[in-house]
């Protein structure tokens, strides 16, 4: 019942938290109905109602968890006749924001009742009514529009956690005015991830726009959208958003290869495993264990094990999400989770990505990766810096006025926001991209042209051929690519 009800509720105007009539967001009638239901059980209805009310206050942040638990611990012990306090010891581990009535019930089921006098079933019934009620309250007042926080551990979410609950929100500031189209980032990404020919997770457009003959560049990794349509549409939650840091990843062990994510992504950043990957698994550093084994490991142990082998396949949750996808599975830019999870500290520390490293090495420093939540992160500091150095409209107008010495050039009332042009790609689609660009946004008439460096001229550590248009390669070369590689490279 939870999911649907909760969805319905979101459509309605939000209930005031508590009215004179009723503490329950669904109003008096509902409250009375719940009381009746509680009274039918052996559960103390007054206590239940009081708990439900406070549970909602807890969710709303009006009382702390400690206050909540301490005020009910004794009551509950008495009511349930249990010597130990398994009930709330267990509940303490539940994050209320993430609890639905279902998961709450689940966790209550696991409570081990020592007392033989009360039949487990009866207890369940009591607990069930109370817990359902609690859960309901939690759901009703849960502010975040995100029903998805209710998903259990082994199912992935589709949104990053709320600002206070996440560790990071990885993203980039890309300064297109610094980019010179050298494609160093493209090579850097291929070296890091071993992607197949034509699967250019990092892609750089060279384009011409109206009114200008100059070449412009657009650097295009996955935008790691905070409201990612690709994750929303995935029928198996293989494409998902890592809640603690907002990375949008694909679980290669779950993906069924339906390619819906690719269809839903407005940016065209996905590259499917149409055939056998060019770089075999043996060449990619990884822990010798099956995904099941890795996931079954204790988190700390897993972290150490992955770190020991400088694993580039599993992330810290033990999911196979990094490096190129196997056959039949979707891949795209990952923002290098092995680095963010500190599995490859020597080769790439946390807070860096391979494309940025390559860009820095090439002396361009157009890509600035980091935590967008953190004002002191590299991208945020860079953005601030760029805003500062950019001429303000007032300054600019003054300069023009001086140069032209004409009255008509008198500036309009200068305002103090910066002149710096920044944009996010297709922002009006509400995908909430985590890449901010500095520079001009390509207009509707923009046209991609041949860039200063050709994709086919790139070489990489794996010896994998690089091409721009993957379709041609798939049609004419992929099946026989190993033998034909040289021949292909010529054209």
């Amino acid at each position: 019942m939870s999911a649907d009800d909760a969805n319905d509720r979101q459509d309605e105007p939000r209930h005031p938290y508590e009215t004179d009539e009723s503490f329950h967001p669904l109003g008096k009638e509902w409250e009375e109905q719940m009381r009746d239901e509680l009274e039918e059980t052996d559960f103390d209805a007054d206590l239940g109602m009081q708990m439900a009310r406070d549970a909602q206050r807890l969710v709303a942040g009006e009382i702390t968890e400690e206050e909540f638990y301490s005020s009910y611990h004794d009551d509950v012990e008495e009511e349930f006749d249990v010597d130990e306090r398994p009930v709330f010891d267990d509940i303490e581990n539940i994050d209320f924001d993430e609890a639905t009535d279902e998961s709450m019930l689940e966790s209550l089921k696991d409570v081990d009742f020592e007392n033989e006098d009360i039949s487990r079933r009866k207890m369940m019934k009591k607990m069930g009514a109370g817990a359902a009620f609690l859960g309901y309250g939690a759901y009703a007042t849960y502010e975040n529009q995100n029903t998805d926080d209710a998903v259990p551990q082994d199912i992935s979410g589709i949104r990053p956690a709320g600002e206070g609950d996440r560790d990071h929100r990885w993203g980039m500031v890309i300064d297109l005015e610094r980019c010179d189209g050298c494609l160093a980032c493209v090579t850097g990404c291929i070296n890091e991830n071993g992607t197949s020919t034509g699967a250019n997770w990092m892609y750089v457009f060279t384009y011409e726009d109206e009114d200008t003959d100059q070449q412009n560049f657009l650097v295009r990794p996955c935008q790691h959208c905070s409201n990612a349509p690709c994750a929303k549409v995935c029928p198996v939650r293989a494409r998902h958003t890592r809640e603690n840091d907002g990375l949008v990843l694909t679980d290669y062990e779950t993906c069924i290869g339906c390619r819906y994510c690719q269809v839903a992504c407005p940016y065209g950043v996905n590259y499917f495993g149409w055939g056998e990957p060019d770089v075999p698994m043996e060449q990619i550093a990884h822990l010798e264990a099956t995904p099941d084994e890795v996931q079954a490991m204790d988190p700390d142990e897993r972290h150490d094990a992955l770190r020991d082998v400088q694993d580039h396949v599993y992330d810290d949750r033990g999911r196979w999400v990094d490096s190129r996808p196997p056959q039949g599975v979707m891949g795209k830019c990952t923002m290098c989770p092995s680095r963010q999870d500190e599995h490859t500290p020597d080769h790439g520390p946390k807070g860096t990505v391979a494309c940025m490293d390559a860009c820095d090495e090439a002396g361009m420093s157009a890509i600035h990766f980091g935590d967008m939540d953190d004002p002191d992160s590299r991208p945020n500091r860079y953005l601030e810096h760029r805003k500062d150095v950019e001429e303000s409209p007032g300054d600019k107008a003054e300069r023009i006025a001086e140069e032209e010495e004409e009255d008509w050039a008198d500036p309009p009332a200068p305002h103090h926001t910066t002149q710096l042009s920044t944009f996010k790609l297709l922002e009006d689609l509400n995908t909430q991209p985590n890449i901010t660009y500095i520079g001009n946004e390509p207009g509707p008439e923009a046209e991609q042209v041949e860039g200063p460096v050709r994709y086919s001229s790139l070489s990489n550590d794996w010896g994998v051929e690089v091409v721009d248009n993957r379709k041609e390669h798939l049609d004419y070369g992929a099946q026989a690519n190993r033998s034909n590689q040289e021949q292909e490279a010529d054209d």
């Binding site: 290869g257 339906c258 992504c265 996905n270």
Partner: protein
């Protein structure tokens, strides 16, 4: 033949007599199916690289193609089929009762083919259960593809129930007239059958039919299937609320065409001129005309909205669509079909069953190509069009095209087998037939003798234009009489 009375012995005839044509048809379809299954095996082995698909974006291709187009085509036939059959039951359109079960069987077979296409389309079909099921409670909240899986399953179950219930009735009454080797099967499906259940079943079937009719526009081809596309902000060619009605109209046109073709073949093979009368074909042809008109009308809506001062992206995609040869041919076919149907409505002499058959085959061709084009064009003109590789090229590979032939062969094969196991015309139809004539309360006595195409045709054809066989009143009574009748025939 004109004066032949229809009875149970007619409908069980296919179970007894097997002509050499059946063996030939069986042999051919089985061979084609096997060849195609081998091709599918090859695809499993090599990966989807053998298709002409590629990644959209820098990949320069389209990621969904013929497989998805053919999938929605089959689903459309299936959904249309069940809507037809439900309408026959719900509105008491007894005239079409002889083809109601054909429509139901077509639904089952077409749904099976649609399901098969999902597998064929997927990169990792081996994971279909292991990946979809565990995450289902969450994905069903967000993924249109999960909704899709839900309704397809739901409809499979509903249709099978529906079919099963009506089969029980027939199986019980025909159990003495079937070949001995089928007896165990018939005993199995009639386990626990008593005459008392007839009325209950009748009511259940009625409610099921009501459910199907109500849910069709909401959930089936008027809802979930078009939502798969129309909710994607990434592809303007797919967007718009018109997709629901558009899909539904195409589904119904395709399904009626399918029913016409199968009915024609059955009538030919088993001399059922007196059961599936010419009148039935006239009526079906009129319905085909009605839905074809809807189809063309909705196309017009889209075209006008797309080209008249629309946004850049929707104009581009609409211009591309209406100038595409495949589209022009499809719409041209629809125009020819409509011209024929109008002509025969005005001048009944224009009507002939082979002509209607021809029209049906053409319609199915047009709807299939329209579906594939719809999918491909949508992906070729995405919102974000900076990629030089967009619009990408796509022409289905020979392997992909073989799947259409393969699935049609398999669908036919399913029919060929079913013909030998169950009566494909329900007993009610031949019983009602008697009843129909005797009660004579419809002012339309041409059912039995419409076989002789004399003067009756003129008057009858005129009537068909208006009276499409809907007899909403008196259904209950008729059912009652039919049951009474049953008792007699049964003995």
């Amino acid at each position: 033949m004109a004066t032949k009375e229809s009875g149970p012995e007619d409908i069980v005839r296919p179970l007894h007599n097997t002509s050499k044509w059946w063996y030939i048809a069986f042999g051919i379809t089985a061979a084609i199916s096997l060849v195609w299954l081998t091709i599918y095996g090859y695809q499993l082995e090599e990966g989807l690289v053998i298709t002409a698909l590629s990644d959209w974006g820098s990949g320069g291709g389209v990621t969904w193609g013929l497989y998805i187009g053919a999938f929605i085509w089959w689903v459309g036939i299936a959904h249309g089929g069940i809507i037809l059959s439900a309408a026959v039951r719900l509105f008491g359109m007894t005239k079409y009762q002889p083809v109601a079960r054909v429509a139901e069987l077509l639904t089952i077979a077409a749904l099976a083919m649609a399901g098969l296409y999902i597998l064929v389309h997927m990169g990792r079909p081996d994971r279909v259960v292991t990946s979809v099921v565990p995450s289902y409670p969450w994905t069903v909240q967000s993924s249109p593809l999960a909704w899709d899986i839900t309704v397809i399953t739901l409809y499979f179950v509903m249709t099978a129930t529906y079919l099963g219930l009506t089969l029980r009735y027939d199986a019980h009454r025909l159990r003495d007239q079937i070949p001995g080797y089928l007896s165990p099967l018939y005993r199995f499906i009639t386990i626990g059958y008593t005459k008392k259940e007839d009325q209950i079943v009748e009511r259940m079937v009625w409610w099921l039919a009501l459910g199907i009719i109500i849910m069709a526009p909401l959930l089936l081809h008027g809802g979930v299937i078009p939502w798969l596309f129309s909710l994607m902000g990434s592809m303007p060619g797919w967007q718009g609320a018109v997709q629901g009605p558009q899909f539904l109209s195409i589904a119904l046109t395709s399904a009626i065409s399918g029913v016409i073709i199968i009915s024609f073949l059955l009538r030919r093979a088993y001399d059922w001129e007196h059961i599936i009368t010419e009148d039935v074909f006239r009526g079906l042809t009129m319905w085909l005309g009605l839905f074809s008109l809807l189809f063309v009308w909705l196309q017009l809506q889209q075209v006008i909205n797309g080209v008249y001062a629309a946004g850049i992206s929707s104009e581009t995609v609409m211009m591309a669509t209406i100038t595409h040869p495949v589209y022009i041919i499809a719409i041209g076919i629809m125009a020819v079909v409509l011209a024929y149907i109008f002509a025969q409505a005005i001048r009944p002499g224009v009507f002939s069953i082979p002509r209607s058959l021809m029209a049906s085959v053409l319609v199915l061709y047009a709807t299939l190509t329209e579906k594939i084009l719809f999918v491909v064009e949508g992906l070729q003109y995405p919102e974000f069009s900076l990629y030089a590789g967009v619009p990408g090229g796509y022409f289905p590979s020979i392997w992909e095209m073989s799947s259409v032939v393969g699935t049609i062969a398999m669908c036919t094969l399913i029919f060929l087998v079913i013909i030998k196991i169950f009566p494909v015309v329900e007993l009610h139809a031949v019983e009602d037939h008697h009843d129909h004539d005797e009660s004579g309360d419809h002012g339309d006595s041409s059912h039995d003798d419409s076989g002789d195409q004399g003067t009756a045709v003129a008057t009858d054809g005129g009537a068909t234009g208006l009276d499409l066989g809907i007899e909403t009143a008196g259904t209950e009574n008729e059912r009652a009489t039919a049951d009474g009748q049953t008792e007699v025939t049964d003995k």
